[in-house]
């Protein structure tokens, strides 16, 4: 079928006899313009040790199991390769990683671009403080052997990828009640 639009191009050809070059597409002149990110939230929380073993992972958006391993390996590689004097925010693909190191344990949080990096940075510390309070001087082993409890704490603090609670005693209240229930 002859589409009339084609003729438009013909018109163009007729108009531009003689040789021409189209000016080259300019490099994107504004590096600051970034595509609007779709959602503001925490994408995942990871705890990994220096050997790159995952000690805790929590995803707030669904990631296929097969892609998780690759993602975690990538994330770990990025964060472990950074020195202490480098800043704790890493741009990774279309989101950001905020990480903090505690002894041999790294806590990495993936966030979208528009989330406040510093507040997440503080949240991580808050989380560790809560763990510290609950386990009284938390160690990697505590986290490994009490994964479910760590999960409860994390769930009290972050839900749906949003920060829910930051008050230490309020975070621990349900957990202590649960512990009492289990004991009795």
């Amino acid at each position: 079928m002859w589409c009339a639009r084609l003729i438009g191009d013909l018109v163009f050809c007729i108009e531009l006899t003689g040789r021409h070059c189209c000016s080259l597409p300019r490099p994107l002149s504004d590096p600051m313009v970034k595509p609007a990110t779709d959602r503001i939230m925490i994408k995942f929380v990871l705890m990994v040790n220096r050997q790159g073993q995952t000690r805790l992972s929590r995803y707030y958006h669904s990631v296929e199991l097969s892609r998780r391993a690759a993602l975690e390996a990538d994330v770990v590689r990025y964060c472990l390769s950074r020195k202490k004097d480098q800043c704790s925010f890493v741009e990774y693909k279309d989101f950001k990683l905020v990480y903090r190191q505690y002894a041999a344990l790294y806590i990495v949080v993936g966030i979208t671009d528009s989330e406040n990096e510093l507040s997440i940075y503080e949240l991580v510390h808050n989380f560790v403080e809560v763990l510290d309070k609950y386990f009284s001087r938390v160690s990697e082993l505590d986290i490994m052997f009490n994964l479910d409890r760590v999960h409860i704490i994390l769930d009290e603090m972050i839900q749906n990828g949003h920060i829910v609670e930051t008050n230490k005693s309020r975070i621990l209240a349900p957990l202590t009640t649960i512990d009492k229930m289990v004991d009795s």
């Binding site: 021409h20 595509p35 510093l118 479910d148």
Partner: protein, 1269 residues
């Protein structure tokens, strides 16, 4: 039975638990996979057992394995089994596993609906909690639909723990099931004012998220959020709210204006960096959205930039990074303010952290000017050499090109320099950006005519040294550059010094190893070169040389004819035949050069990429008309999809071109020309379709600065050792400097002449100051192609919205819902599905109840409120009864079914109540909605006593006045009632209740209005008192600190809201002299009570460096934080400011002593207070009273109040005629209450405070304020 349990637990002893598994994995490092597979087998065995404890243990282990990356989806059903265990410990394990393993496509989720519902309504709050948490991870659209109502009910649960979780999960439900938003929204909004801070923050979270996606629907909530922002002390919540405002301001500029002040206050006062960062970010966003022209804009920007500077200067890398990030946002709109911190940003380029360097690079983009471009690029080039990682180097490369090429090479004054930079960049090994460099070379060579000679020479050298460039061929992206080099040499071959040599270089056998598309260009351009050479040689009448060239072509081309690349092959064979024919003619001594060069004749003109759109359609051509009749049968099919996509924007259609008549076009063209003529960088008329083949006039006449050919035209680039020792581009930097000096000298001469002619006293600012931008003329001219859009191209808004965005569905007009039920009440279909009775034998009564409930929303709501009230109460009684019944039932039987029935019996009642709420809510909020305008307009806000009248008077907005007030009056009681009836805490007797209600009504009124007056922080408090037209005299809290001939210091002291022991002193330094003031150091002699906060590591007597320098006549503000212990007494601190005065030839140390006066007022913080809270405070009897009389105060009462508010940080609680109550709070939490009365010229102030000394001092200070005026 007992035996079985015992047996089960014995079994368990032999099973591995999670700890064993973890240990086991650690002990089997070598054969981990094998060990885990045996474990999984064990787990499979365990899952087959009946014992739920064993199953739970197995599931627990599976959760761990899942985390390690093993697929456990096969156990999904077992997980559901464990979830449905009645024991909480197991249930928890089940839910945890589910939340980790389930996703939307897990099919067993369907089975969980009833289980989750049961858990949600469990009497144990932790059962409910764990179900909610789990649900938030795996909620599907089906689950959301089925459970929305249950979750909504939980939003009003008695336990804040549950309310909080329910509110949060509603967000997920909205996403999955958008229909639930409208019915649930009123309740969600209610939660914003929940007594529990956790619930409140959850509601803020959810609404912020919703609103950020579809801000316009939530604009009406702005006043509420504003109130939260000014009252909340939770930084996390504040961050959310501030973020939300960032999203709202683009829609409502007035909101932005209102925000600036509280935000800047927060910036000043907060000690939390995250909050500060967020505030700065939002202020930037607000300022971007506001049209410029607000007077204090620059101050706010200045403040932000200053704060960011402090962040960047911080030793904490994180702050540095964020500072730079935020700075880049400012750069977009206020490049000037950022440019002043160039030094700092350039410094960051040397940072050891790559991410920081990258951020700094982003900023560089805006830092460059004509003056410093070369210098900056030089610096970057050094970095390129030093950079170790390829990614960073590539980033540098693109940045260099970005910076140089931005806005049509605006900042490049010397293109020879740029070409040599590009050539130098080709030395980079293993860069991916060869094509980028190539395209720049082409672009510059084509568009800057004057540079072609130079460019061609450089490119010829490049071609000659191609072997160096492409050392390891294919993997090297840099060989793309050869593409450009070959093309430029071919196209502009007339400028070549030694064309034969270049031709030879282009036909070397090694070329055949280049990528195909580059070879093709080589071959084609070899032909062009050949044509040029022929032309030259024939002119010389040297036939042998010409024949030699032909022979060379014939010898070398067959190599390319054999190429595997089709394009190369085709071009080569074509050209080979052509050359052979030419050779034949040459042997016959026929002159062929003319004809051969005709093959490539013609000037090449740049055309804008969008030029085609500008080509007008010839008259009579209808592009949308069918040439052939379309096939008839497809017609009907074609029609339908169109109907679905009615919203689709019409494509910018050509026919509009035809509408524009010839005259109009001509006029536009004229206008454009005019505009271009005024543009200093626009030289050539755009090659619009009509003119394309005319020779571009003008280019030849442009005065092009003669290039000093002292620079060798050889490219040393490809050889590592430079003959001159300097890299090529550096020489240009020098040269350019000289050129500019020359120019400047010429200019000065001219100016002197002018001055001689004029002799009038108007001194020019230019000549003493540094060279301004415009003074530097570019050495070459860019042939700019205007990139106009066709006139009718509409910027489409939908482009940036992802059609798959789940939030799109949530774009629901909630205002409608809130405003009037009449406009768009909740339709039946919109109600959340109440659990339908799948089980047979649903009780009839509940069904009837359901019907009745359905009818309520349609009922005309003209019933008197009294009737409603009665009905409500009945209902409530019913509800209580049913609850009790339910409890009884529960005690009797514990079977599932009974439980279910109980739940059903109760629910409809709840539901009907909900519907009523929905009904009642709108009316009360309607006032609020239309109040938005009112709230936003800076019109005076009436105080409650004179409301209706003043509203009508004061509000200029046509919609806002009397109607609103009148409207809201009768409806309010209902509102209070619903709230009351809902809160189950009120278990008082009926009579008491009624009394209370009346009281509450009253209070509510106050509340309602204070809502406005308190919302605006200081500003609106002022407003609250300004009722008459009389404007307030301008006031400032800054008082003179010290002054000498060099500098003047004024200061303002304010308490820090966040920290009870901190006072922030803002000092404005103003340079009064003609010299430059630098190295300012601010020091204060600490007293026992008050200390200046110094950075860690500095001694108690060290001064603080003021973080800026002051050029003549400039003032700037710095902030100093003091810690104070006791705040009941005013005190003075002695201090000194030392600084260096720098003149052109000398610099001297100077100092200035000052006395910092901490008044008691400065410890007070404006805190809004509701009249009921105020009344309670006064009644409590904890406060000591005191009073003071002011005589001879000759000012209107509202001025008096405004002064107290402004100077002494009070807020008006209530004002009745000539009497007002005011409130303030100290940073350490002392309440200060004032009752101000006036009669004639006497003002009496009765005051109460829990700290008599503080009160006495404050009153003294107030007295002093008024004695001064």
């Amino acid at each position: 039975m007992a035996l079985k349990i015992v047996k089960g637990s014995i079994d368990r002893m032999f099973d591995k638990n999670l700890q064993d598994l973890v240990r086991g994995i650690r002990n089997h490092k070598e054969d981990e996979a094998k060990y885990i597979s045996t474990c999984i087998d064990e787990i499979k065995q365990e899952l087959k057992q009946d014992n739920i404890a064993v199953k739970a243990n197995a599931v627990c282990k599976l959760t761990y394995l899942q985390m390690l990356g093993y697929d456990v989806s096969w156990a999904a059903f077992n997980i559901v089994e464990v979830m449905s265990s009645s024991k909480f410990t197991y249930k928890r394990i089940g839910y945890l596993a589910a939340s980790q393993c389930f996703h939307e496509n897990t099919d067993v989720i369907m089975l969980t609906t009833n289980q989750i519902r049961k858990d949600l309504s469990s009497p144990n709050q932790y059962d409910t909690g764990v179900a909610l948490t789990g649900l938030s991870c795996f909620v599907t659209p089906d689950l959301a639909r089925d459970l929305a109502n249950d979750i909504m009910t939980l939003m009003s649960h008695t336990k804040p723990y549950i309310r909080k979780k329910a509110v949060l999960i509603m967000y997920k439900v909205f996403l999955k099931y958008p229909e639930s938003l409208r019915p649930a929204f009123p309740r969600l909004k209610e939660k914003l004012e929940d007594p529990d801070p956790g619930v409140q923050s959850a509601a803020v979270n959810v609404i912020c998220e919703l609103a950020r996606r579809n801000p316009k629907n939530y604009l009406s909530l702005a006043p509420l959020f504003f109130k939260l922002m000014t009252s909340s002390t939770n930084n996390w919540v504040l961050i959310k709210i501030i973020k939300l405002f960032g999203a709202l301001t683009p829609l409502e500029p007035r909101l932005g204006k209102k925000l600036i002040e509280p935000l800047t206050n927060l910036i000043h006062s907060t000690s939390a960096m995250s909050l500060l960062y967020e505030c700065v970010n939002t202020v930037i966003a607000v300022l971007i959205s506001l049209s410029s022209g607000m007077p204090n804009h620059s101050a706010s920007i200045q403040l932000c930039v200053q704060k960011l500077r402090i962040l960047i200067e911080d030793s904490d890398q994180n702050l540095k990074y964020l500072g730079l990030l935020a700075m880049s946002k400012i750069l977009k709109t206020h490049p000037k303010s950022v440019q002043s911190h160039k030094d700092l940003i350039l410094q960051c380029l040397d940072d050891k952290d790559e991410s920081i360097r990258l951020r700094a690079l982003d900023l560089l983009y805006g830092m460059v000017s004509k003056k410093n471009l070369m210098e900056i690029v030089k610096k970057l080039m050094i970095h390129v050499d030093k950079a170790e990682g390829t990614t960073y180097r590539d980033e540098l490369l693109t940045k260099i090109i970005d910076i140089c090429s931005q806005s049509n090479y605006q900042y490049i004054t010397n293109f020879e320099w740029y070409i040599s930079i590009l050539v130098e960049l080709t030395r980079l090994e293993g860069t991916r950006h060869g094509h980028l460099i190539a395209s720049q070379m082409l672009d510059v060579a084509i568009r800057v005519k004057a540079i072609r000679v130079f460019a061609v020479a450089q490119m010829a050298t490049l071609l000659d040294n191609a072997h160096l460039l492409t050392g390891n061929m294919q993997r090297n992206g840099i060989c793309e550059v050869l593409y450009a080099a070959a093309w430029i040499c071919g196209e502009f071959s007339e400028h070549l010094e030694n064309p034969v040599q270049t031709l030879e270089a282009m036909l070397r056998p090694k070329v055949a190893t280049l990528p195909g598309h580059i070879q093709a260009v080589y071959v084609q351009n070899a032909a062009k070169l050949f044509a040029t050479i022929l032309k030259n040689q024939e002119g010389n009448t040297d036939s042998t040389a010409a024949q030699e060239t032909s022979q060379m072509m014939i010898d070398r081309l067959p190599l390319f004819v054999q190429s595997a690349n089709l394009e190369v092959q085709e071009r080569a064979s074509c050209i080979l035949q052509l050359v052979k024919y030419i050779q034949k003619l040459q042997q016959k001594d026929v002159e062929v050069a003319e004809e051969v060069s005709a093959l490539f004749a013609g000037e090449l003109n740049p055309v804008a990429p969008k030029a085609q759109k500008k080509v007008p359609v010839p008259e009579g051509l209808d592009l949308d008309a069918w040439i052939n009749e379309p096939p008839s049968e497809s017609e009907s099919e074609d029609e339908q999809p169109k109907a679905i996509f009615t919203k689709e924007e019409p494509k910018h259609s050509r026919p509009r071109h035809t509408e524009v008549d010839e005259k109009e076009l001509a006029r536009r063209r004229e206008a454009r020309k005019q505009e271009q003529a005024n543009n200093p960088f626009y030289i050539k008329a755009s090659p619009s379709s009509q003119k394309v083949y005319q020779e571009a006039p003008g280019v030849e006449h442009i005065p092009v600065v003669q290039i000093d050919l002292s620079v060798p035209l050889k490219v040393p680039a490809t050889t590592p050792s430079h003959p001159t020792g300097l890299p090529m581009s550096d020489q240009y930097v020098k040269l350019e400097e000289e050129r500019r000096q020359k120019e400047r000298a010429e200019k000065k001469k001219k100016e002197k002449k002018k001055r001689k002619e004029k002799r009038s006293g108007r001194g020019k600012k230019h000549d003493s100051g540094p060279e301004s931008e415009e003074d530097i003329t570019p050495a070459h001219v860019v042939d700019i192609v205007t990139e106009e859009m066709p006139e009718n191209a509409l910027p489409s808004d939908d482009d940036d919205k992802d059609p798959n965005d789940p939030h799109k569905a949530l774009d629901i007009d909630l205002d409608n819902l809130l405003e009037t039920t009449a406009r768009r009440p909740l339709a039946d279909s919109e109600k959340l599905p109440v659990r339908s009775h799948r089980a047979a034998g649903a009780p009839k009564s509940s069904a009837e109840d359901g019907e009745a409930e359905n009818a309520t929303p349609q009922e005309p709501k003209k019933k008197s409120s009294k009737e409603k009230r009665d009905k409500k109460k009945d209902k409530e009684r019913d509800r209580k009864r049913s609850k009790e019944e339910k409890k009884k039932k529960k005690h009797k039987h514990e079977e599932k079914e009974e439980d279910l029935l109980g739940g059903q019996a109760e629910e409809p009642v709840v539901q009907s109540e909900e519907m009523k709420e929905v009904e009642a809510q709108p009316t009360s909020t309607s006032a609020e909605v239309s109040d938005l305008d009112f709230w936003l307009s800076n019109a005076p806000v009436p105080s409650n006593t004179q409301e209706a009248a003043t509203v009508a008077e004061a509000a200029p907005a046509p919609e806002a006045p009397a109607g609103t007030a009148a409207d809201s009056e009768p409806e309010e009681p209902k509102d209070t009632e619903t709230e009351e009836s809902k809160s189950s805490k009120h278990k008082k007797k009926k009579q008491k209740k009624e009394k209370e209600e009346k009281e509450k009504k009253k209070k509510k009124k106050h509340h309602h209005h204070h809502h406005h007056s308190d919302g605006g922080g200081e500003e609106s408090v002022q407003n609250g008192t300004v009722e008459e037209e009389e404007p307030l005299p301008p006031m400032s809290n800054y008082c003179l600190l010290a002054e000498n001939s060099y500098i003047k210091m004024v200061c303002d002291i304010q308490g820090n809201l966040q920290d009870g022991s901190q006072v922030v002193v803002s000092v404005i330094f103003e340079n009064k002299s003609d010299s430059f003031l630098k190295s300012m150091e601010f020091n204060v002699l600490d007293s026992l009570n008050s200390k200046l906060q110094r950075p860690e590591g500095s001694g108690p007597h060290d001064g603080l460096t003021v973080p800026f320098q002051l050029p003549p006549g400039v003032s700037n503000e710095a902030r100093f934080v003091f810690t104070v212990q006791s705040i009941v007494m005013p005190q003075k601190l002695k201090g000194t400011l030392t600084f260096i005065v720098k003149n052109e030839d000398s610099s001297t140390h100077e100092k200035l002593d000052f006395k910092l006066h901490f008044t008691c007022t400065s410890y007070l913080i404006t805190t809004p207070c509701y009249s009921d809270a105020f009344a309670k405070l006064l009644e409590s009897g904890d406060l000591k009273s005191s009073s003071v009389r002011l005589e001879g105060v000759n000012m209107p009462f509202h001025h008096l109040l405004a002064r107290i508010c402004f100077h002494h940080h009070f807020s008006v609680v209530e004002r009745i005629d000539s009497c007002a109550s005011m409130y303030s709070r100290s940073i350490q939490g002392h309440h200060v209450c004032l009752l101000v009365k006036t009669s004639g010229q006497t003002v009496s102030i009765d005051a109460k405070c829990d700290e008599p000394t503080l009160l006495g001092n404050v009153l003294d200070e107030i007295k002093q304020t008024f004695s001064q005026c």
